[in-house]
């Protein structure tokens, strides 16, 4: 009779203040039955890792439009690892040039979603990622 639900942290690291994309994704995940913790704009990687720990989330989603993804994304992954959360998948959405994709994947970013992504693809991706970890992690 577990009431377990997928918990997702959506955060906007870096200095740009455009959070429409992050909000659209947060809303879509909520409508898919997930509990979404939205932290708002201008988060440092340290703040994101701390929130992920306190909220005990299953997934971390980063929204970055500023072009600083090569600095910010690997830092978040590294901090999560340091606090024993290396198994938590990290996704990034925003404007990510194709040539940066291999390096981000190598740094441990599990999913990369550009402009125009169907939000349902993100929902499906999260469910798939968590299903790989533990069979009952889906919607109960």
């Amino acid at each position: 009779m577990s009431k377990r639900r997928i918990r997702v942290l959506i955060a906007k690291p870096g200095l740009d203040g455009h959070d429409r994309g992050a909000k659209v994704v947060a809303r879509a995940l909520r409508d898919a039955g997930m509990e979404v913790i939205y932290t708002g704009i201008r988060q440092t990687p340290e703040m994101i890792a701390e929130a992920a720990l306190q909220e005990d989330v299953d997934v971390v989603g980063l929204s970055i439009l500023s072009g600083a993804h090569m600095a910010l994304c690997p830092r978040v992954v590294e901090l999560l690892r340091q606090q024993g959360m290396g198994d938590v998948p990290v996704l990034v959405g925003g404007i990510i040039p194709d040539e940066d994709v291999p390096a981000l994947r190598a740094a441990g970013i599990r999913g990369i979603f550009g402009p125009g992504t169907n939000t349902q693809d993100i929902v499906a991706f999260i469910r798939r990622e968590l299903a790989l970890q533990e069979p009952e992690a889906g919607e109960r």
């Binding site: 009779m1 577990s2 009431k3 377990r4 639900r5 918990r7 947060a26 809303r27 995940l29 909520r30 409508d31 898919a32 039955g33 997930m34 509990e35 979404v36 913790i37 939205y38 932290t39 708002g40 201008r42 988060q43 440092t44 340290e46 703040m47 701390e50 929130a51 720990l53 306190q54 909220e55 005990d56 606090q83 024993g84 959360m85 919607e139």
Partner: protein
């Protein structure tokens, strides 16, 4: 239990895990709570409630900062509603609490109501216990934005702060609302806005209409006159006074022995709620599924009324 041992040793990840465990009511939740229970009862629990948009999160943020300046550790539980359709939730209270990042003396946890309608989640009381056991000296509980009847916080918190703001509605709203009756302290937030004095007066008038001790057993019966404080949480104005009022109320609870009385009532209510849930679960486990179905059919067809149906159920359930 390994997890509990780690939590008590100050491991924050173990704390976060334990909270998830009790929130999900998982198989080990009861064992964890049993192991933690002897370590609880030390935190002062402060409920922050009020209508949506009155500034509860910002006020929690400001209060927590002040408590930290006084070297007191703070646990925060922020509750937001679950969508009745998808079962999902958007928990956004952390947006207003970014000042508290990076402080090991603070722990913030967002909770979705998961179908509960009283302004808290069903497991909020247990999450408060976990934070209490982890050693946080003050636990701030922010309810969902409430209307008039979501008063569950009154039985979970020692001190309830009802937050209002100017321009939310006429004073009749303030008089009829059940939420107003559970206040130990009123905070008129956004007090730099026009109409703040009017809001203060409306609350004062409401208090004048309900003299002390008119309703036995209610909060008006306890001899404490809820102060009305003006705050501007975004600028920290009036927050020190609010903190002083909370601490004064805490002291009053102990001096007047109200604390014991309320704790006794809270524990009784808790035991009754657990008993109710447990009895229902046991009865359900004992009854064949078809039995309930058959009764539903009979009630639908108006051959039985619901009361007689339940009486029959209880008879066939045997002794529990």
């Amino acid at each position: 239990m390994e997890l509990v041992k780690k939590l008590l040793a100050g491991d924050r990840r173990a704390l976060a895990h334990t909270i998830s465990l009790v929130e999900d009511d998982g198989p080990e939740a009861h064992a964890a709570l049993a192991a933690l229970y002897p370590h609880t009862g030390r935190a002062h629990v402060i409920g922050i409630t009020g209508a949506p948009g009155t500034g509860k999160s910002t006020l929690v943020n400001a209060l927590a900062r002040l408590y930290r300046r006084r070297q007191l550790t703070v646990g925060i539980v922020a509750v937001d509603p679950t969508s009745p359709f998808s079962g999902g939730a958007l928990l956004g209270d952390r947006i207003r609490m970014r000042d508290l990042a990076g402080d090991a003396g603070v722990f913030i946890r967002s909770m979705a109501t998961r179908g509960s309608l009283g302004g808290l989640a069903q497991a909020t009381g247990d999450v408060i216990l976990v934070l209490d056991a982890a050693g946080f000296q003050r636990v701030l509980v922010e309810t969902v934005g409430v209307g008039q009847a979501e008063v569950e916080i009154a039985s979970s918190a020692h001190t309830v702060v009802v937050v209002t703001a100017p321009g939310l509605g006429d004073e009749v709203q303030a008089i009829k609302a059940g939420v107003m009756e559970i206040a130990d302290i009123f905070a008129v937030n956004k007090a730099d806005r026009e109409g703040a004095e009017h809001t203060v007066m409306a609350i004062q008038m409401m208090q004048g209409l309900a003299p002390q001790a008119m309703v036995p057993g209610s909060r008006a019966d306890d001899g404490w006159e809820p102060p009305i404080l003006k705050t501007v949480a975004t600028r920290g104005q009036g927050v020190a006074e609010l903190l002083e009022a909370i601490e004064a109320h805490a002291a009053y609870l102990h001096e007047s022995h109200l604390f014991e009385r309320r704790e006794r009532a809270r524990v009784l209510g808790e035991l009754e709620a657990i008993l109710q849930a447990e009895l229902l679960a046991r009865l359900r486990a004992r009854l064949p599924e078809e039995r309930l179905e058959t009764l539903v059919e009979q009630v639908l067809a108006r051959r039985l009324d619901p009361y007689t149906a339940v009486a029959q159920l209880l008879e066939s359930g045997g002794s529990l």
